[in-house]
């Protein structure tokens, strides 16, 4: 259930089976009595006020109108949730000056947009919705015509149906009309709700919603990015890499067949080149998304990095089971990048990698006993990690005083 307007544009069967037509109908149906009621209340108040305006009482009565308008708008805000289910029921408390907060009657003055909504509600909206609801009775009558015709002739929008055969013939027409009107009803409800929302939502709320939307799409992008990397890795692994291994096997067999001589030397050279290509490919794959991470998760993959490191690494990994793939990948590349840095720059004798989970957050730290003085801004590797963690709402910090030790730490929430 994303939103009604997306559903309208989607697959018809899915739309009709969804809750949206019913929510829209509920919205339209409730608009009629609500709009009518407010129209009557406001007309009464205004006319009483106008009639008694020569007395002071009339002014007091008229002063109540903005309060009523505000209440009407608050009601509309609540009803919006039928079309936008994710919305908060109340207006988010915007930071205002303290004088207002201390007031006993916090904020009962209507704004101009609220007045606009109330005018629309009491005039255009309920009338339009009532017309649509009346039109909706036509397809319903057509559909039940086969039942009604038993008890006599029926008249539908100037159309006379008096035999059972005719009644069965018009029923399909009723179905088609019903579907069309469902679309019309949803479109009307969406249009009204969008207009009301646009008028009522303060700019901050619209911003907050946009930020929420952005955050969702950013997480989605990171997911898509990681999925794509895994796909590329799989293609390389199942395709090129298998072929290269097969090639080295063929060349290896050829070496056994050939007599010593220039031919054998060339085949040996080709074999070495193929192995070099395989090694290069393996390094590339490791940088994209290592297979051991996909298959066995973070702990196994970190073991593998530590095993390849030229500096001895102590591991303490309290991470059982699997984590979300994006988090695993971020943590893997964090460890990989930092151990590479340790080997390259730190002149360290050993390094330690700790990983544990606390309050639904993965924490990984890499500490070395090297010379320190690492510059967090140096190198694109750490910057890339920073961006990756940022997108996952994680954090990265480095402490590296001159003389060491260097500690790099990442935290990443596990959703």
């Amino acid at each position: 259930m994303s939103d009604a307007w997306t559903a309208v544009r989607g697959h018809p069967a899915r739309f009709l089976a969804s809750a949206w037509p019913w929510r829209s109908l509920a919205y339209l149906t409730s608009t009629v009595p609500v709009g009518l009621a407010w129209l009557i209340v406001l007309l009464v108040v205004v006319s009483v006020g106008a009639a008694t305006v020569v007395l002071i009482a009339g002014l007091l009565v008229l002063a109540g109108v903005p309060v009523l308008v505000h209440l009407a708008a608050a009601g509309e805000r609540r009803r919006l949730r039928l079309i936008y289910p994710g919305r908060p029921a109340r207006q988010p408390p915007a930071p205002r000056d303290p004088a207002h907060r201390r007031a006993f009657w916090p904020r009962r003055r209507a704004s101009w947009p609220e007045a606009g909504v109330t005018v629309l509600l009491t005039t255009v909206f309920w009338i339009a919705d009532a017309v649509l609801l009346i039109l909706l009775t036509v397809p319903v009558l057509l559909l039940v015509a086969p039942l009604l015709v038993r008890s006599g002739t029926i008249d539908i929008a100037g159309w006379r149906v008096d035999t059972a055969g005719e009644a069965w013939a018009v029923a399909p027409a009723g179905l088609v009309t019903l579907v069309l009107l469902m679309y019309a009803a949803t479109a009307l409800a969406c249009g009204q709700a969008a207009l009301v929302r646009h008028l009522l939502d303060p700019p901050e709320a619209q911003l907050a919603e946009a930020v929420q939307q952005l955050r969702r799409s950013r997480t989605g992008l990171v997911d898509a990015f990681e999925t794509e990397r895994r796909r590329i890795e799989r293609d390389l692994h199942d395709g090129v890499q298998q072929r290269l291994v097969a090639l080295t096997m063929t060349l290896g067999s050829a070496e056994l067949d050939l007599p010593a001589g220039p031919g054998l030397d060339l085949v040996r050279e080709a074999h070495q080149q193929a192995e070099q290509a395989l090694a290069d490919l393996r390094t590339t794959i490791r940088g994209i998304h290592p297979r051991v991470l996909t298959d066995h998760g973070l702990a196994a993959a970190v073991h593998e990095i530590a095993g390849r490191s030229s500096v001895p690494v102590h591991l303490q990994l309290a991470v059982d089971g699997r984590l979300p793939p994006t988090v695993e990948a971020a943590a893997y590349f964090f460890v990989s990048e930092n151990l590479t840095n340790v080997a390259r720059h730190a002149r360290a004798r050993s390094a330690q990698v700790h990983a544990w989970i606390e309050d639904h957050t993965l924490i990984v730290s890499v500490v070395d006993d090297g010379v320190g003085g690492a510059d967090p801004r140096a190198g694109t590797g750490l910057a890339g990690l920073h961006a990756r963690l940022d997108a996952l709402d994680g954090e990265l910090d480095i402490t590296s005083p001159t003389g060491g030790p260097t500690q790099v730490r990442m935290t990443c929430p596990i959703h």
Binding site: V245, M249, T250, L278, A299, G307
Partner: protein
């Protein structure tokens, strides 16, 4: 070194399990050219279990990672074969080093020979065939790269901390399945020196006195993961 193209004295009956068709065909070709008999070449663990049960081969060569989950089907199938028919030698192939495998692998001993090689090794046809012979003869062969990574991980703590650099080298070569003679050749020292190093290793490691000390030392070495 024997010429692998003449049929070996001990032609083996082998079942091969590998899901990548190219590699499976390559393996079969290499093995058959070396004079072995490939009784079945299959693409998944289920078929491997069936053929290993029915054909009773001398040796099973299996990829660790196979469908459907692509994690450790081959390893689990190997463990099942080991439990049912302990005399069948097993050679595991892996695309990468995952040291969790080594522990599981060694827990499945005793029984026939066992080996763990990286797939790249198959291209070194002569060495690969040699490893197969050693495993079929009851030996343990662990890939040099796997051993190298384990040494790095285990240097700092664990039972190996007391060993000298040279003793660790000797132990690593023992784990790869080399004889004293082979180790002496690799390290350019005399066999007597190798025996002396091995004696020191046995003295320093907490070994089970009731089992073969050489095997026990290798197991201590391979198992002693500080994080396992």
């Amino acid at each position: 070194m024997p010429d692998p193209l003449t049929p070996p004295q001990n032609a083996l009956r082998i079942v091969v399990a590998e899901d990548a068709a190219l590699l499976r065909e390559g393996l079969v070709r290499i093995l058959e050219r070396a004079g072995h008999e490939v009784v079945a070449a299959v693409a998944d663990a289920h078929a491997l279990l069936t053929y290993a049960g029915n054909c009773h081969p001398d040796l099973v060569i299996t990829d660790i990672r196979m469908p459907p989950t692509h994690t450790d089907e081959g390893l689990r199938a190997a463990a099942a074969i080991r439990a049912a028919q302990p005399d069948i030698a097993i050679m595991l192939l892996s695309a990468y080093v995952a040291d969790a495998y080594v522990g599981e692998l060694l827990d499945s001993t005793p029984g026939g020979g066992i080996g763990y090689l990286l797939k790249d090794r198959v291209g070194h046809v002569r060495d690969f065939l040699d490893s197969i012979d050693r495993v079929a003869a009851g030996g343990t062969v662990v890939d040099a790269e796997v051993v190298r990574q384990l040494v790095r991980l285990r240097r700092a703590d664990g039972p190996l901390a007391g060993l000298t650099e040279r003793e660790r080298e000797v132990l690593a070569l023992m784990a790869e399945g080399h004889t004293n003679h082979g180790i002496a050749g690799k390290l350019f020292v005399s066999e007597a020196a190798v025996r002396k190093h091995i004696g020191n290793i046995f003295a320093k490691l907490p070994l089970d006195p009731h089992s073969d000390r050489r095997v026990s030392a290798v197991l201590t070495y391979l198992r002693g993961s500080p994080s396992a």
